[in-house]
């Protein structure tokens, strides 16, 4: 298989994943397109180093997250983590029974959106991967830290978000 064929195959199989990461970080359609292009460029550049040690999807997530951290389209620190009401795993952030019901309310979603955007860049990356449904092991492989470390960090983020949202409820 030529490099071009491998590239086309990886992109066509993972385009939805890349799109999702781009959506998380950009509300603007043009910015999403620019970042999508940049992720593809970086996939191409990194393709020669792909040894098949990890799953292709994990490899693609790495490239996408790393691109989001170095995205030249705009300063990454101003990036916002954009979540939609229909995001499949959104409820996994706040795994509290009472809050689950309230999360259905749009107002709560907006609040959560605001809180998510207060997170640091790395925390945003962790949350975006969690929202994508990646396991703790997969997230640890993408970020390059141990699985227990990922669990601790995500637990801490969840706790902080819960506290803030509960505080606003009170």
């Amino acid at each position: 298989m030529t490099k071009e064929e491998t590239f086309n195959s990886i992109v066509s199989e993972n385009s939805e994943r890349i799109r999702n990461i781009c959506r998380y970080y950009n509300s603007n359609v043009e910015d999403q397109k620019d970042m999508y292009q940049e992720v593809l460029v970086n996939i191409w550049k990194s393709l020669d180093n792909f040894r098949g040690d990890s799953q292709v999807s994990t490899w693609v997530y790495r490239v996408a997250v790393n691109t989001s951290l170095t995205f030249t389209g705009k300063a990454f620190r101003h990036m916002k983590l954009m979540v939609n009401g229909d995001t499949e795993n959104l409820n996994s952030i706040i795994d509290d029974e009472n809050l689950h019901r309230k999360m259905a309310e749009e107002k709560m979603l907006e609040r959560m959106q605001v809180e998510l955007n207060q997170l640091s860049v790395i925390d945003k990356a962790l949350i975006s991967l969690m929202l994508e449904g990646l396991s703790m092991k997969d997230i640890s492989e993408v970020i390059g830290i141990t699985e227990p470390n990922v669990k601790v960090k995500i637990h801490r983020i969840k706790s902080q978000l819960k506290e803030k949202l509960k505080g606003e409820q009170a």
């Binding site: 590239f7 385009s15 799109r19 990194s46 790393n66």
Partner: protein, 177 residues
Amino acid sequence: MTTQEFNTNLEKLTGKLEKEDSNYARIIRAVQIFYWIFIPVFAGITILEYRETHSLNTIVSGLFLMLAFLVIALTFRKYYKEYKYVDYSLPTLEMLKKAAYRYQPFQKRGLWVLLGLAFMDVGLTIDWLDQNTSVVHTQIFFGASLLVGFVIGLVLWYIRYKPIRDNALRLIKEIEE
């Protein structure tokens, strides 16, 4: 954004990427031309000069200058490859650590450039001795040129690369906390 909007024309994009690869290949070829053609040409000039002057200094200075060009050209080739082809598929922490290293102003491998410059200094000093320029004057000229280059490089690093390195270090700290 619709799927249609996202549906990039892969053929067009692949063409763009291949162009980028071929640009890289062209630069590498240019560097190869530098040390496969320019250095022998320089060797030829040195031999011709020696036939005129019969001075051993001509040969020695020519050798040192050729060595300097070779070391600097090879170091440049290695640097270029590393900067141009950053691997974005590494785990984030590793990628950031490599970026922080790449953008630090002083690196161990920079010693190769210093070695090249030292060869150039020796070559120029010997060559200019034949033109009655004292060692001290040559050193002052060479040292001043290096200082100017160093200051320009440092200013460029401060403006362009220090912010990148600072960001990388901040993110590393955040991940490792």
